[in-house]
């Protein structure tokens, strides 16, 4: 802002406003006066040229000049060099201030007794610029000119001396001017600062545009407050140790490569290092009063330590080499910073530049010389929030993904152990695992260590959380769109969960991985109820080994597609499996098996191959067997119904009719059912028991029967003889008719 005005002033070379300087320096070290006032008033037209010279950057079209040293701000400090809004040229001591700015200081008595003189002194061309007041004479020393002023001059300008454009190559010896406060050597050819060590009251020293190569000779100037060394050949910042009161330090246009030896300048307010060779910014500790730092036109790639500057308000970083926000992130921690520029840096080309800066530096009032509006701030925060959300989301996603991967690995590992496959890990781990195969955390540990390169790719924090999360995970349930994926046998329990109607309705694909098929069979009735729309079943690593096992799927409501991954399902190696599936599940009219469309030829072939089996099974099976086999199916369903009855009584009827329908649909293959190994073995045990009993019972029965038979046979053998004997006895008895008659009569009478 200042430079802009400044330039416009200089560019037009005509400003009719009277300009003046009001330099107030107040120091406690001045005993006689607590306030020294420099009052300079000049007419502007005449010094416009010099202003231009002073501004090394006049060729740059930027709106902000690096020549700027002091910018306006209200001063609270008791000691300061202040200028207000239109003050520009402090360096040249030709400071112009508007009346308003002066009045801002409450001092209206700045009128200009020496106005014309100064003008003359400063601006008249020719070698005798200062001829009226200053006499340069050769001193006794050969090399140094000795300066002497007339006593009139001395009285008039007792505290200032201007030696501008005198073609000086060395500093003249200034005698009898111990009370000088302001010394100006602008635009000379001085290579070394000399002969001013006696000017101990010097407050203002201007060596702008000389050929000084090293800062030196200033150690006695303890009062110095403004040191202007712009446009010289200085390579290092050094020898400023005693200048503890320094307020303004201008080193622009030199060859300085790093910031150093400034940490003691606790009163320094303005530091100008523009147009140097700095590659980075740091070492800023101790500059507790710094409010403005100009670093334009360097080669800075990163900035540090700025957050250690408690008073910094303006920071100019234009035309450097900053390309990321991370390289200047310390700026975000500075609470005082209100004005910053980044234009001419790679970072300013980025699309995220503005909102990132605004979001991270809420305290900012100006960015690249433009006022930050509320609207911009709002947009920035919205954008940043969105970005943050996105980031968090993606982080969450990757976290979940990683967790899923680890869990699946873990499940796979368990599965492998269960299948007695040899896991390919280090032998000691192997031993550990086999020692405690039931310990999930142990298992998990080995899983993690089995994939070190993968976990290593994550940042450590992430993997730490993951480890914490998945220690207990031995199974995984995932609903992704219309697919329900179950990994590990524990996942089957999820079917007991209360799934929302929407989710349950949406799921059309159910995929099983790392689960024994026999375990799946047990939950199929649940699956049928919970996910009525599941049409596509996928099996991978489920130990499908027998054609029989497909019988179990027949109890489902509908299956359109079946995918049996060859991995872990040896049944797929059989040439007949597809046809058996088609045959057994023909009531589903399946469309695809393992991704291949089912053709009519397939259906015919399936029927040709297994039709007779179904026929035999249904028509040749004796009635009692049919009942018992179908009864098993019904019993099984009934058993499940009993379990769920308490929860959902409404489902029972539906289920009943459903099972009836199912039976009606394919009675001739309903006899082909599958009982899981465990259940079957259980049944065999049962049968054994019964058999034992039957055997005993039959033994007794047969024994009894054979005994009876034996007796019968014995009787048969004896009977003919017995009969003969009986007949013989009878014949003998009735041989004597009379006596037999008598006997009979006797018996009759006896009865009476």
């Amino acid at each position: 802002m200042i430079p802009g005005k400044y330039r416009s002033v200089s560019g037009r070379a005509a400003n009719n406003v009277n300009c003046g300087l009001h330099l107030v320096i107040q120091t406690s070290s001045l005993p006689e006066k607590s306030k020294v006032e420099f009052k300079l008033n000049k007419e502007t037209p005449s010094f416009s040229g010099r202003l231009l010279q002073h501004d090394l950057e006049r060729n740059y079209s930027s709106r902000q000049g690096d020549g700027r040293v002091i910018s306006p701000s209200p001063r609270n400090k008791s000691s300061c060099i202040s200028s207000t809004t239109n003050v520009t040229e402090l360096c040249g001591l030709e400071m112009k201030t508007t009346m308003s700015s002066l009045s801002a200081f409450g001092d209206s008595s700045i009128q200009t007794p020496s106005k014309s003189r100064i003008r003359q002194g400063c601006h008249s061309a020719g070698p005798n610029v200062s001829g009226d007041h200053i006499h340069l004479a050769s001193s006794s020393m050969p090399s140094f000119p000795i300066l002497q002023r007339s006593s009139e001059e001395k009285i008039l300008y007792s505290d200032r001396l201007t030696l501008e454009r005198q073609k000086l190559t060395v500093c003249p010896i200034i005698d009898g001017e111990e009370h000088l406060r302001l010394l100006n050597f602008q635009h000379n050819f001085i290579t070394r600062i000399q002969n001013i060590s006696n000017l101990q009251r010097l407050i203002f020293l201007d060596l702008y545009d000389n050929q000084i190569e090293e800062i030196s000779g200033l150690s006695t100037l303890r009062s110095l407050r403004v040191l202007l060394l712009g446009k010289n050949r200085i390579k290092r910042i050094s020898n400023l140790e005693n200048l503890k009161s320094l307020d303004v330090l201008d080193l622009h246009g030199n060859q300085i490569t790093k910031i150093e030896n400034v940490s003691h300048l606790c009163d320094l307010r303005v530091l100008n290092l523009a147009r140097n060779l700095l590659s980075h910014v740091d070492n800023l500790n101790g500059l507790d009063s710094l409010t403005e730092l100009n670093l334009r036109h360097n080669q800075i790639t990163f900035v540090r330590d700025v957050d250690n500057l408690p008073c910094l308000q303006r920071l100019f970083l234009s035309f450097n080499n900053i390309s990321t926000f991370e390289s200047v992130c310390c700026l975000a921690d500075s609470s005082s910073l209100s004005d910053i520029t980044f234009d001419g840096n790679p970072i300013a080309q980025e699309s995220w530049y503005k909102h990132t800066i605004l979001q991270n530096m809420m305290q900012l009032r100006q960015l690249d010389m433009k006022r930050v509006t509320e609207e911009e701030r709002r947009i920035a925060s919205v954008v940043a929030k969105k970005e943050e959300e996105k980031k968090r989301e993606s982080h969450k996603q990757s976290l979940l993904k990683e967790k899923k991967r680890l869990t699946i690995n873990n499940v796979a590992r368990k599965w492998d152990l269960q299948q007695n496959r040899i896991p390919n890990i280090a032998p000691n781990q192997d031993r550990k695992v086999s020692d405690s195969p039931q310990d999930p955390s142990q298992l998990h540990g080995s899983t993690v260590s089995a994939f070190p390169e993968e976990t290593g790719s994550l940042d450590s924090g992430l993997s730490n959380t993951l480890q914490g999360l998945s220690v207990t995970d031995t199974h995984l349930v995932e609903v992704d769109g219309d697919t329900l994926s179950l990994y590990g046998s524990g996942a089957l329990e999820s079917l007991d969960r209360n799934w929302s109607v929407q989710t349950a309705g949406m799921v059309t694909t159910v995929s099983f991985t790392f689960i024994e098929f026999d375990e799946i069979v047990q939950v199929l009735p649940k699956l049928k109820i919970k996910f009525p729309n599941s049409l596509h079943l996928k099996f991978k690593e489920t130990n499908l080994v027998m054609l029989q096992q497909f019988n179990a799927l027949a109890q489902l409501r509908r299956v359109d597609q079946l995918t049996i991954d060859p991995q872990g399902n040896p049944v797929v190696n059989f040439t007949l499996w597809k046809y058996y599936v088609l045959f057994r599940l023909s009531h589903f009219s399946m469309q695809k098996i393992n991704g291949t469309e089912v053709t009519q030829n397939d259906m015919i072939m399936a029927e040709r191959l297994f039709g007779i089996l179904a026929h035999v099974a249904s028509s040749e099976l004796p009635q009692y067997r049919l009942i018992s086999i179908l009864g098993d199916v019904r019993k099984k369903q009934f058993r499940y119904l009993l379990e769920t009855k308490g929860k959902k009584p409404g489902l029972v009827n539906e289920e009943n009719s459903d099972s009836k329908r199912l039976v009606g649909e394919n009675t001739n293959r309903a006899t082909l059912n599958y009982t899981t190994r465990d259940f079957y073995n259980e049944r065999l045990e049962e049968i054994k028991e019964k058999k034992k009993f039957c055997k005993m019972y039959m033994e007794d029965l047969v024994k009894e029967a054979t005994e009876i038979n034996m007796k019968n046979e014995a009787l048969q053998k004896l009977w003919p003889q017995m009969f003969i004997e009986l007949v013989r006895d009878a014949v003998i008895e009735i041989r004597n008719k009379n006596s037999y008659m008598k006997l009979c009569l006797q018996q009759i009478t006896d009865q009476k």
């Binding site: 039709g611 089996l613 004796p622 009635q623 055997k695 047969v702 054979t706």
Partner: protein
């Protein structure tokens, strides 16, 4: 009832020997199992049906293995059922692996042991390259011998081992229950040097065995006939000869002759009827009448969809037979 044999034995033993007890026990067992259902339609009816099904040989369908192998009749019935149900697979000309045949067996008998199928496959494959594909008829006849004469073959194996080891055959005590330990085959090198045992000696031993054996064994005359044709023979050579022997198959009576193996007009008729019923295929069945009229002896080649698949598998099976072998030995 009044056969002379009946009088030679005590009743109980007679019943046991004729396996009547087995069936009676099983009948009661079945009754016990389904007593609610059966009581509804009458116990007498049940017994009628049961013994009818035993006569027809349908009683073994989907029964547990212990029952299926309990009697020779059951074994024969099972063989017949297997043939009947999967004749079509053979008719289609498919070659299957041992495991796949085993799966088919398990469709009829869920707990059918893998060991028996493996042994049958050994006969077909001459105890070599166990993962090879076999034709249906080869497998079926080998399986018949192995399954029906299971115990007899165990004893034969023991005798063969003893003969190989050079033991005096006269001292051979026929092992019955403890025969398992003799199952180890001789190392291949030794076997190839000797090329089996002398046929006459072997024949003598087997004759001896047949006399004493309480399980069913092939007719001794036929065994003799098999052995008389050769000088020396190996165990599996003997089994192959048995399985291919026409007379033994006839004596067993479960399966038709090899020539008629694919022939079962009644079932073919039934199959055509079933094919016509396939839902959604009614149109094609009528539009393509010659498919239904195919002569039953020529295997139907409807699209022959698994031909390429089958060839691919064959190559695969040959290439990595060794790994499969180790896998198999694990089980």
């Amino acid at each position: 009832m009044l056969s002379p044999e009946r009088l030679a034995l005590p009743d109980y033993e007679y019943l046991a020997q004729r396996h009547v007890l087995t069936y009676m026990e099983d009948a009661v067992c079945q009754l016990l199992e389904n007593k609610e259902d059966i009581s509804q339609y009458g116990v007498a009816r049940f017994f009628t049906e049961y013994f009818n099904s035993v006569c027809q040989g349908t009683h073994i369908l989907f029964r547990e293995f212990s029952f299926i192998q309990a009697t020779p009749h059951n074994r024969a019935s099972f063989l017949r059922a297997f043939w009947k149900c999967f004749r079509t697979v053979g008719k289609n000309g498919d070659l299957l692996t041992m495991r796949e045949y085993h799966c088919l067996l398990q469709l009829l008998c869920p707990d059918f042991p893998l060991e028996l199928t493996q042994k049958a496959a050994r006969i077909v494959l001459m105890d070599d390259a166990m993962d090879c594909l076999m034709s249906f008829s080869d497998f079926l006849f080998a399986f018949q011998i192995q399954f029906y004469y299971s115990e007899f073959l165990e004893s034969v194996a023991a005798i063969y081992q003893d003969l190989l080891a050079g033991k005096n055959p006269n001292t051979v005590i026929v092992p019955t229950s403890s025969s398992g330990q003799h199952r180890q085959r001789p190392p291949l090198g030794e076997a190839s040097l000797l090329e089996g045992v002398e046929a006459s000696l072997f024949s003598q031993c087997l004759e001896n065995l047949c006399d004493r054996h309480k399980y069913s064994c092939p007719p001794p005359a036929l065994v003799k006939e098999v052995l008389s044709n050769v000088q020396r023979l190996t165990f599996y050579g003997f089994l192959v000869a048995l399985s291919k022997h026409h007379g033994i198959n006839q004596a067993l009576g479960a399966l038709p002759d090899k020539g008629d193996l694919m022939h079962d007009p009644a079932m073919d008729e039934e199959l055509e009827r079933l094919l016509a019923q396939i839902p959604g295929l009614v149109n094609s069945a009528t539009a393509n009448p010659e498919a239904g009229c195919l002569p039953s002896r020529t295997p139907p080649r409807v699209g022959s969809p698994w031909r390429p698949l089958h060839h691919a598998r064959k190559v695969e099976a040959e290439s990595d037979g060794s790994t499969e072998e180790t896998d198999e030995s694990e089980t």
